[in-house]
Amino acid sequence: MFRRSKVGAGLKPDPTCRIVSIIIMNPIEPLIFEKSSPGRRCFSLPACDVPEKSIQALLPAKMLRKQEAKLPEVSEIDVVRHFTRISQMNFCVDTNFYPLGSCTMKYNPRINEETARMEGFTKLHPYQPVEHCQGILRLLYDFEQMLKSISGMSAFTLQPAAGAHGELTGMLIIRAYMEKKGETRHKIIVPDSAHGTNPASAALCGYEVESIQSNAEGLVDIKKLKESFTRDTAALMITNPNTLGLFEKDIMEICRIAHDAGGLVYCDGANMNALMGIARPGDMGVDILHLNLHKTFSTPHGGGGPGAGPIGVTEKLKPFLPVPRIEILATENTEIAERKIVEVNDRSPLHPHNSVSSVADLFHLNYDYPGSIGRVRAFYGHVGMMIRAYTYLLSLGKEGVCKVGEYAVLNANYLRHKLAKYYDIPYGKTCMHEFVISARKQKGKGASALDIAKKLLDYGFHAPTIYFPLIVEEAMMIEPTETESRETLDAFVYALIQIATDIEQQPETVRNAPQTTPIGRPDEVKAAREPKLKWEMRMG
């Protein structure tokens, strides 16, 4: 990581702004366009080995591009240095602790990357005949079975591209189900502590969103829910544990209220890490659940994506799942509609320990679901992410999955306990996998949640999620995950205690943070008021 404080004193950037710096610690890396020089090449294509015709002979002139696209002209070493240097301006899980609440920034095992990059997966075309794709189809099928077991849901679709896409798919299923019942319900209830994607997904599907206020304990207010959940309510969208890191202890009654009113319950599974091996949403009575493979199942966040947001449903909602569905077409001699988990003696040699399908099974993609909501994307979903998540679950196994929830909850409570003396924690006595601090006390003394977050960067820790959930003033949402050691947690506590002490004595040192990062605080107002969203060649 570049440290601004370490940048050699007296070194000035090239005034022409075409910086070709050889100073390794220079935290300014020009844009690749600024490194462009006419005639430079990075990559050579093979020569044309078929008899070449002029382009004009093949295409009418009016269809042709007149001006070349001004892509940079750079050499291979330019490109390699450029991306290597800018990569070093990032914090990441591999370099820094990332206590981002609700984001589950756990370690991304390397073996997952290794398996996802196997040629037999990366070079497989989605329209190849299914006989060519039996390996991947088996993997996806077995992965669905694993998710069913972990979540307690009856069936899964792996298609949604991310959590929010899963939410949308869930909303479409709810609408299709209600239509089938001949009911038009136009309302979705969302607690005020919910992720922003929840109301946005419901609205995208044409639903009216009613926000209900949490009770004094930070949980769903049962009385209010009963009043609000009328016959025009299609579903409740709930997050459990909620975004305060609290388990909704009345979850079973909440589901009953929705069901008694003829409605459904959608569960945002962003916080599933807390429940791994501890409890299952399917057993709580939820009807639809999305899982974030990039949170709970260790696939990397990639600087914003790709993720994957498979959704699980109960038996009655199965007919509405998007197509295609991955199914067993047949086994030798037997037709199979739905297969239960296969016992030990019937495992495939391909899956010496973990198969739920048998060796003779043939898989296919089934489009024949007349009640289905249809397609939610082209092809079959983020297969690359599923390979990673499947690899993770094979490595973990049953005992590993159970330890995930346990150690995630343990780590969060340990941090919570140690910080409670220094910061307000408005809700709960204990927590699940995360908890929310309020920095209102510190704000009164001259440093806000934002300032504390920035100061943490100077200590080498990524900031927690701040100003969310909206129901906590000066919120700082902290989620350590199970993949951090006691020592890391102690170091983080130490930093937060130091910051609390600094705020008492010299709050300006916190307000002026960060000082050691590649850049200081950016002017976000300028960015929004005078949007400059691409590089443009400077004239003259």
Binding site: E52, K66, F83, H125, K249, G303, T391, L410, H462, A527
Partner: protein, 447 residues
């Protein structure tokens, strides 16, 4: 392996420090009845065991490297320069979060900014966002933007758009009260006369793909003019590789240009993850879905980058956001960015030309056999449709080719019943003359 550093001993120390006798007491809010279930997972495996298992599964697939494939249809095989994998494998890029803390995310932010610039250069559009899930959802977001902006309830869509994209459009718009009108493409391109007949003051947008699903190049200029006559938005869904030679959407006055950028340095991956891109004219900037990076200065006046115009997004605007998208395809956008830098100004034009030359060579050779005839007589880029003649059957032809290690074109009769016994072939720069000649020679034996 569970990747959990803390041991039983750590756990005891931690619980003791918290003054708690057992871990279970932390779970007292969870009803007892929920704690009683059995996981039907097997025992965890060691690294060599997992690797062996996945290797076996991957070998149980026949992939495009151990046969010659002429499949395209929305997912394309292009050569990926080695530096793309190497640079995108830096964990500073792939293990970081969305760059909400710009001070420690300049790497990701600069990549997004460069990606936006590259996509604008390629498409000739004014503004690009940081990415969408895939080509299909990018197209749907363009339709949704148009419906919101124009407050009209009809979307007109060429039937030559990828059939799966049109299916997704139907899924999203069902129940919205939005009418989707499809325009035929009897001669391989969208019927402009039919299009003009259905346009009116209810039309929010006209959606056209170029090159379209059949590989044919549309008269985008004409469609754009007609669309604007009715004050609707013109949405172009384009293949970025084709823009090395084809006229970019900015030049035919498209309002929104979207598409699938898997072609830019991303693997086939059995259909995903892919990379949707989304570009607009500057008037539509504040209606755009998804994340956008912008330039600004830091506290010392130094140039830097941030996520900006976030008031459009779900985490601020909730149900009033321009889209529900949160997680996007940042890592694939990084790959596209590296790929385009590697190709450079000359490379993208050369690549476009190679695709054009090879596909035309293949089409000419195949059409000379008595087995096929081209289904359409329109200009095309790197894909074309052939219809089997006489007693020849596409299914039989493809079955035969598979026995020779060749994957023929996609049989499109399931998508277009009127185009029975036809296949869509794709020839990119990855096909050598030798492999094309082999396809021709094998088919010649079937005469």
């Amino acid at each position: 392996m569970d990747y959990i550093p803390n041991t039983e001993r750590d756990k005891e120390i931690m619980l003791k420090e918290m003054g708690i006798s057992s871990f279970e007491s932390l779970l007292e809010n969870i009803p007892k009845s929920l704690r009683n279930f059995s996981l039907t997972l097997q025992k965890g495996l060691s690294e060599p065991e997992v690797l062996k298992l996945l290797q076996d599964l991957s070998k149980n697939n026949t992939h495009t490297n151990n046969c010659i494939s002429f499949l395209g249809a929305g997912a394309y095989e292009h050569y990926i320069p080695t530096i793309v994998d190497h640079l995108a494998s830096r964990s500073e890029f792939y293990t970081c979060y969305t760059p909400y803390q710009p001070e420690v995310s300049q790497g990701t932010l600069q990549v997004i900014y460069e990606f936006q610039t590259l996509m604008c250069e390629l498409t000739g559009m004014d503004v690009a966002n940081a990415s969408m899930y895939d080509g299909s959802t990018a197209l749907i977001e363009a339709a949704l933007l148009s419906i919101r902006l124009k407050e009209r309830n009809k979307v007109v869509c060429s039937r030559a758009i990828h059939p799966e994209y049109r299916q997704v459009l139907k899924t999203y718009l069902k129940g919205f009260g939005t009418e989707i009108v499809e325009i035929d493409a009897p001669e391989g391109i969208t019927d402009v006369n039919q299009l003009e007949k259905v346009l009116g003051d209810k039309t929010a947008a006209v959606l056209v793909q170029n090159p379209n699903f059949f590989g044919c190049i549309e008269d985008m200029e004409a469609i754009s003019n007609i669309t604007h006559k009715y004050d609707a938005l013109f949405v172009a869904c384009v293949n970025p590789i084709s823009l090395g030679v084809l006229k970019p959407p900015g030049e035919y006055n498209a309002d929104i240009a979207v598409g699938e950028a898997q072609v830019l340095g991303n693997y086939l991956n059995y259909g995903g993850p892919y990379l949707g891109f989304f570009t607009v004219k500057k008037e539509l900037l504040r209606k755009m879905p998804g994340r956008i990076a912008g330039e600004t200065v830091d506290s010392t006046g130094k140039r830097c980058f941030v996520l900006t115009l976030q008031a459009r997004e779900q985490h601020i605007r909730r149900q009033k956001a321009t889209s529900n998208i949160c997680t996007n395809q940042a890592l694939l956008a990084l790959r596209a960015c590296i790929y385009l830098c590697a190709l450079g100004k000359k490379g993208i034009a050369e690549l476009g030309n190679l695709n054009l030359q090879k596909s035309h060579y293949a089409c000419e050779k195949l059409s000379a056999l008595n087995i096929f005839e081209p289904s359409f007589k329109k200009p095309f880029f790197n894909e074309f449709v052939l219809k089997a003649r006489g007693n020849h059957r596409i299914t039989k032809i493809n079955e035969y080719l598979l026995t020779k290690g060749i994957i023929g074109g996609l049989d499109i009769s399931a998508f277009y019943p009127e185009l029975s016994n036809s296949m869509l072939l794709c020839v990119t720069e990855t096909k050598t003359r030798e492999s094309i000649d082999r396809l021709v020679a094998e088919l010649d034996k079937m005469r």
